[in-house]
């Protein structure tokens, strides 16, 4: 017995609704089912991608380094292919008419219809395209897609590590970014990766109604492709080339050069040596070539500028000097007796030069790179202050996360306790004050020492992107120099250090006389960083990988610096005899060829 009340009314409404829907379902799926099945079999929507050219990469003067050329790929839509051909037929047609051997994986995708589209062959030749055109009637569900290919110019090879490379997006990248299409090029390393969002552009998409033979019937919606923006690096490829030639003519197998504009911290050259052929790297090496590259003991694939960490040795001394002067441990006039060795208890710390240095001030100590002077100054200054100034200069800090991966290790009391579980000894401070012991820096970090000295104390954000051409606004967008902080260094203190670095080149006992021949006045500092003790080296007959590292930092011209940089030669043995001449060669050519003009 059902009472008719509001509740039954509501349930009645629900029931009417229910039967209406059942009727509708029955109508759509059973009565008209055949009709709708036909429509769905006949028509598919396919997404066609059009891949825009990726932005070009230029150097600061507009020299072309990387651009795109179109290639053709043969694409198949598994669903349509499966409807038209048996797997056997498909294999035979592809083999007989297009000379393509279908691999198991692709065949599997078509058979299981597990992806909306699949690449059959990349980089088709003219002959392939002609064949496809002629036998088109045998390939329903196939079409050609324009796929851009990256081309790196001859010049770009000098810059292989910085440029990086491109590739197709991985499944993970596709999943994370819905704007990517499977055949667009994305940056995988280097500048190509860092500025991928500028360079990449956006694929066009076109949803097309196609029939069962894959013929396009109607465009349903369309999204235009967006071309990538061209970018201009701060690199001057002429300087980069000079740096490369300095190395290749020197017979030193491994090292790095970084040259920057100290006023803006634009990177003018960044060489990691040895380098590799960029185009070949992108297109794929043969197995032997690859083996040679990966097993080469000079590590050509590694970008030593940002990834290699080495003890700095004496190029650390200008920084220690500034710390000592600013913290009042010494004044520019303070003279300290510096003999051939320095003792703490039973421990003996020797000067690199057995003769000792005499009664000298800080500028003279820099000139001769006097270890015993810095031992005493370092102890007076204390490890805390050395660490404090290293940090102020930006060592151990990532100034630009786009560029820097590894940062310097600056040991402190806390660091030693935490990492090595040991106490800090005076001997550690002594070692640190000449850039030895636990301290390691990358070649790029070395520029962080010289840049503030050259520009009067400004710690800037290093950058490699000079500008990009914004396609939307049709304007060139420049990267402006960015001051991170200013280190307050009193003028007379800075001058004392600068003068010391001047004496390194021009002084009577300077350690880098090779630079005297440079066409402009300049200042520098040598560094010979010990990797193994002398005894070990001797035991190993001075084998390459046991030798000392050679460093040289420099800025020029002395009065109004326009370029600053570092030459690092892995196991080069002597900063003064090996690294300095390379810097001399580079500066000579830069100024003689008027790449940088002095005012």
């Amino acid at each position: 017995m059902i009472k008719f009340n509001r509740l039954t009314f509501l349930i009645f409404v629900l029931t009417v609704f229910y039967f209406a829907l059942v009727g509708r379902l029955f109508y759509l799926q059973v009565i008209r089912g055949e009709h709708y099945r036909e429509i769905s079999d006949r028509n598919y929507i396919k997404i066609f991608y059009s891949n825009p050219p990726r932005g070009k990469i230029y150097d600061r003067n507009g020299v072309l380094l990387a651009y795109d050329v179109p290639t053709y790929s043969l694409i198949a839509f598994p669903y349509i292919v499966k409807k038209n051909y048996s797997m056997q037929e498909l294999k035979e047609n592809l083999k007989n008419y297009l000379n393509i051997e279908l691999d198991e994986k692709t065949l599997n995708i078509i058979e299981k219809n597990s992806y909306p589209s699949v690449v059959i062959k990349k980089d088709l030749t003219q002959k392939d395209i002609e064949n496809f055109y002629n036998y088109n009637h045998l390939f329903h569900g196939f079409y050609l897609e324009v796929v851009p290919k990256r081309v790196y110019t001859e010049e770009a090879n000098y810059l292989a590590h910085i440029i990086g490379y491109v590739g197709y997006p991985s499944e993970k990248e596709l999943k994370e970014n819905p704007n990517l299409s499977p055949n667009i090029l994305v940056g995988k390393a280097g500048v190509e990766k860092i500025y991928d969002s500028l360079l990449r552009g956006e694929s066009g998409q076109k949803a097309v109604l196609v029939d069962a033979f894959g013929r396009q019937k109607k465009v349903l919606w369309e999204k235009d492709p967006r071309k990538g923006n061209d970018i201009y690096l701060t690199i001057d490829i002429r300087i980069q080339k000079i740096a490369f030639e300095a190395f290749s003519s020197s017979k030193h197998p491994s090292g790095a050069v970084v040259l920057v504009d100290p006023n803006t911290y634009e990177i003018l050259a960044s060489l990691s040596y040895p380098t590799y052929n960029l185009q070949k790297f992108y297109e794929g090496f043969s197995q032997e070539e690859w083996k040679e590259l990966t097993e080469n003991k000079y590590k050509p694939l590694m970008n030593k500028v940002f990834l290699g960490k080495y003890p700095p040795g004496s190029i650390y001394k200008p920084l220690v000097s500034i710390a000592a002067l600013e913290e009042g441990a010494i004044t520019p006039e303070t003279r300290i007796g510096s003999g051939s060795e320095f003792r703490i208890g039973k421990w003996v710390y020797r000067n690199w030069n057995k003769r000792g240095c005499g009664f000298i001030n800080v500028s003279e100590a820099l000139e001769t790179s006097c270890d015993t002077f810095f031992y005493q100054v370092g102890l007076k200054l204390g490890v805390e202050n050395i660490v404090k100034y290293s940090k102020l200069f930006g060592l151990g800090e990532i100034l630009n996360p786009d560029l820097e991966v590894k940062v310097a290790t600056i040991p402190s009391k806390e660091w030693k306790k935490k990492v090595l579980k040991q106490n800090w000894f005076h001997g550690d401070t002594v070692n640190l004050s000449i850039g030895q012991g636990y301290v390691t820096i990358t070649p790029f970090d070395a520029t962080k020492i010289v840049v503030p000295i050259a520009n009067g104390g400004y710690v800037l954000k290093p950058h490699i992107l000079k500008a990009y051409f914004d396609n939307k606004s049709q304007r060139l967008v420049h990267t402006n120099p960015e001051v991170i902080r200013k280190i307050n260094i009193k003028k007379w203190n800075l001058d004392a250090v600068r003068y010391g670095m001047y004496l390194v080149v021009y002084g009577p006992s300077g350690t880098a006389k090779a630079l005297k021949t440079a066409p402009v006045l300049n200042a520098g500092k040598t560094g010979t960083a010990q990797v193994y003790s002398y005894d070990t080296r001797k035991k190993r007959h001075h084998a390459w990988d046991f030798r000392d590292h050679a460093w040289f930092i420099d800025y020029a011209p002395y009065n109004r610096p326009q370029i600053a940089g570092v030459v690092f030669i892995e196991h080069g043995e002597s900063g003064g005899k090996v690294a300095a001449p390379l810097m001399a060669y580079i500066l000579k050519r830069i100024f003689k060829e008027k790449i940088i003009e002095t005012e």
Partner: protein
Amino acid sequence: MFNLFKKIKQTDPIVYLLTAFLLIWSVINIYSASYHEYSTLYIKQIVFVSIAFFIITFLPFLIEYRKFGYISFYLYLVSVILLILVKFFGVSILGAKRWINLGFFQLQPSEVAKFSMIIFSAYFISNTKLPLSLKDFLKIMGLSAIPFMLIYSQPDLGSAILVVLPVLVIVFLAKFNIKYIIGFVLAGIILSPFIWTHLKDYQKNRIIAFLNPESDPKGTAYHIIQSKIAIGSGMLTGKGYLQGSQSKYYFLPEQHTDFIYATIGEEWGFVVSFLILTVYYILSLRIFYIGIKTNELFGKFLCYGIASIIGFQAFINIAMNVGMAPVVGVPLPFLSYGGTALIMFSLMMMMVLNIEYINKKEGFRFHSQDALNY
């Protein structure tokens, strides 16, 4: 040892099993709907379904539904605050700000509002003098207008309607004077041209497209046509799991949310789409029935509200999928992708199960003479 079967029998086995059936189906279908998009949505769905199972299996014995009544005003406040927060901190997806990003999970406040509005109105009305007076009616309508407007401005017309729908059902069943109801309906009809001018363009387009699908096959009507083709082409037994060409080839842009039913229709045919439709119908009827049996007013109205949201939301969504209602963005309970909705619906089922559990445990409970009349 927790004897699942014995425990279920202490609640309502029909509600429990139908809910469990829908939960399991949701995983199967989300997997299919996101199959070609390199997607791992189904993994998230598995996580939510596991939580949902936990809620409906264990919580009915642990949390008494009346507790929700005591905190119902705070639930209401929290959902209004969430709806205001979404205005400022919301994540925009496809032009609508409907989600708050919590890092591990995107919360959809409109679903929370739907849930708390049912509890709040049931509690409010069960504690007023019945039949419902005009004054109390205006009070509860005024209070539900706040979440309605906030959701409507997201914009999300579908959810906004669904927030007030159960309130209206409870008001109706609370024997609100029929003369007033007729009066409000007439006023609504007179005001509708005015409302039309205030609709957003895309909402107007959807209604026009619904009334005449062929007028604009590329735009808004596109969904309706493609969804009809998808369901129809499923025929009696479907194209087979993962074989739906309509849904797999970009015909249905919202195939894992609003158009999940079309995926089911295409791949499983009339047999399963009919089955699912029937499951919603029986589930809704069963909850109405539990409501009738319950002799405590709050529990009673709660059941009516929940039964109506399950039934009507499911039917509106399915009607949308088969081209019988305009596309207003209403997800299918339990089956559409969306963690917040899934959890909220599971909590509703938990309360229904708890009401029946208490009914069985306490036998006939006499709370008021009124309870027998509603």
